[in-house]
């Protein structure tokens, strides 16, 4: 071994080597997570974009985004393999009566598009957001600004936190028992809205409480000292500053809940529905109709129909579109926050 050439000469010691191993392990764990995440994401993007995008103009598969799901028919016709959607096949049979006798292979939901599911999901998200925000922000204002901190309020807080840990299927069952059966709303948008809203409530309340707490006490005191009532103070001088935080966390919470299948499968989602949500006889029927929804559709097409090259298109396409929608909601929340934050900065 060479003698040390200077005071700070690097030495090989057990602790040093140990440290290297530990950090290598941490590095591996991090890269492994990244690898898995990217694997799932890229797989869906790669296969899904084949359904959603096209090589020629207009580059987007308009039909997939604007049509209802149909069954896919496969058959041989004059020595050629043909695949047709339900409507197309019926027209074909009308034109060629002999086609009715041809042996066919069929896969449900594998042709057409997913438009009703997109519409249903957007409606579910919007409605539950309105309900969750109004209930959640009100509750947070009560807890932070009005309620005296006592054992009861601590119990309420604990209950709200625990609500966040309840499995989504339990929320689904609760919604089913409460809204679908007890209130008699049947499988409907309204039942789905409330079930989803209750699921995000813990997130919305906690986020709102934190945002309200972050508003400096001086703003409240300054306002009260000018002769404002408590409510005037909250409305004009507390809530506006808390809003960016409330909205960001809440919208992100809703984006997550929008992906849940369990809460809507008993309360709001139909496997298939021919009519679009606005095709109702009376405006009040709007709230009491079930809808198709993307997460449930993904569940149906990936578990109820065979996996092969013909069904893969709709499976990956739906997942991809769904990812895009969730990403859009998240982006929206960030844009919203940045705009509001620029207006009220302290």
């Amino acid at each position: 071994m060479n003698p040390a050439t200077h005071l700070f000469q690097a030495k090989v010691s057990g602790a040093r080597r140990h440290e290297k191993w530990v950090f290598a392990l941490f590095r591996f764990a991090t890269y492994f997570v990244l690898f898995c995440g990217l694997g799932v994401f890229l797989n869906i993007v790669a296969k899904g974009s084949r359904t959603v995008f096209k090589a020629e103009a207009p580059f987007v598969n308009i039909a997939f985004l604007t049509q209802a799901p149909e069954s896919l028919y496969l058959f041989e016709w004059e020595g050629q393999k043909r695949e047709m959607g339900d409507r197309e096949f019926r027209a074909f049979k009308a034109a060629h009566p002999a086609a009715a006798q041809v042996p066919t292979e069929s896969y449900v939901y594998s042709a057409g598009g997913i438009f009703p599911c997109i519409v249903g999901t957007v409606l579910l998200v919007l409605g539950s957001m309105v309900i969750a925000l109004s209930l959640g922000v009100s509750a947070a204002i009560f807890l932070i600004e009005y309620a005296d901190d006592g054992p009861f309020i601590r119990f309420v807080r604990l209950a709200i936190l625990n609500l966040a840990g309840v499995p989504s299927i339990v929320f689904g069952l609760f919604g089913f028992g409460m809204f679908v059966i007890f209130f008699g709303w049947n499988v409907s948008l309204l039942a789905g809205w409330f079930t989803l809203a209750f699921m995000v409530l813990p997130v919305v309340i906690t986020a709102s409480e934190e945002s309200l707490k972050a508003v400096p006490k001086g703003f409240r005191e300054g306002s009260l000292a000018l002769g404002a009532t408590k409510w005037q103070t909250i409305r004009k001088n507390v809530l506006p500053y808390a809003l960016p935080g409330i909205l960001t966390s809440s919208v992100l919470g809703i984006a997550r809940v929008a992906g849940e299948t369990a809460p809507i499968m008993f309360t709001a989602a139909y496997v298939v529905r021919d009519k679009l949500p606005w095709e109702v006889d009376h405006w009040s029927d709007f709230f009491f109709q079930g809808v198709m929804a993307l997460p449930y559709h993904i569940y149906v097409v990936s578990s109820k129909i065979p996996q092969n090259e013909y069904t893969e298109r709709v499976q990956y396409g739906t997942a991809f579109v769904f990812l895009i929608i969730v990403a859009l909601i998240a982006t929206l929340s960030i844009v919203l926050r940045n705009n509001l934050r620029d207006r009220y900065k302290w």
């Binding site: 300054g222 000292a225 002769g227 500053y241 009220y344 900065k345």
Partner: protein, 281 residues
């Protein structure tokens, strides 16, 4: 300034009948505006004020001095009932009367009280709104909306707070863009915009540099002709420079209350003397 009925912050109009005689007497002897009478005040089980008796004269600057924790800020916050916001506080004995009306009696509307008794805080707290909106905040609360009227009051208040020339070109930029001293003067402007009678100042200069402090003190001198000012301060020179009367508190008790000149040159109480000469505190 307009004369208001003496008990404007009483909810019921019945009270306005007991107009205090002092209000009507000629202004030869200084008029007593705030009368604090044997007040005990508690935070939970801790007694913060012990048997305080003190009379604040109208259109004068009264300084509350004393070491930290002596109760001077607590007493100040009793005067517009800001202590109500703190849980577990109570005024257990005594009365505080403004214009002869006990502000702790049941039918007092705190909102009315706080309109008449404005406050400037230790830490300047302009709202994260424009300078203009900061000033109009209180006015809009009380239902004044005409643009022309608001413009007028904004200018008058900012001039009153000696801030107009510095900010007149950027009224619609954020109040938080101002310097520390300007922010504090903005808070003073905001307080005088609602035309209070009394302005409570809770160590308004403790976070300011000497130049900004001098400006605020100058402003206090300008305001004394129109408002009754009560200022809590740690800075004895400040009390000596800008107040007419000084009250010295120690451990929740009022030790001495006299003309500022007497407190600083000829205190009767040895504790006061020790404090003002810098031997403790």
């Amino acid at each position: 300034m307009t004369t208001r009925p003496p008990s404007a912050f009483a909810r019921s109009s019945a009270l306005s009948a007991n107009s205090p005689a002092s209000r009507l007497s000629p202004a030869v002897t200084p008029e007593v505006l705030v009368a604090i009478d044997h007040v005990d005040f508690f935070y939970g089980a801790t007694q913060a004020l012990n048997d305080i008796c003190l009379q604040v004269e109208a259109k004068r600057v009264t300084a509350f001095i004393g070491p930290s924790g002596c109760g001077k800020s607590t007493l100040l916050r009793c005067l517009n009932r800001m202590n109500d916001l703190i849980e577990g506080t109570r005024l257990s004995r005594g009365t505080i009367k403004i214009h002869g009306v006990d502000i702790y009696q049941r039918d007092v509307d705190v909102i009315e009280l706080r309109k008449r008794v404005g406050m400037v805080f230790q830490k300047s707290n302009p709202f994260p709104k424009s300078i203009y909106e900061n000033i109009t905040y209180g006015l809009l609360l009380h239902g004044r909306h005409e643009k022309k009227h608001l413009d007028e009051i904004v200018e008058r208040s900012l001039r009153g707070a000696a801030l107009w020339d510095e900010v007149k070109d950027r009224l619609h930029t954020s109040g938080l863009g101002l310097s520390g001293g300007q922010q504090q003067r903005l808070c003073i402007a905001r307080a005088i915009a609602v035309e209070p009678e009394v302005i409570l100042m809770d160590e308004p200069c403790s976070a300011l540099d000497p130049v900004a402090t001098a400006k605020v003190e100058e402003l206090i001198q300008d305001l004394r002709s129109r408002y009754t000012i009560i200022i809590v301060t740690h800075n004895m020179q400040q009390a000596a420079r800008c107040s007419d009367r000084t009250a010295f508190f120690y451990l929740g008790k009022l030790v001495e209350y006299a003309d500022t000149r007497d407190i600083f040159t000829n205190p009767t109480n040895p504790q006061t003397e020790a404090y003002v000469s810098g031997r403790f505190g």
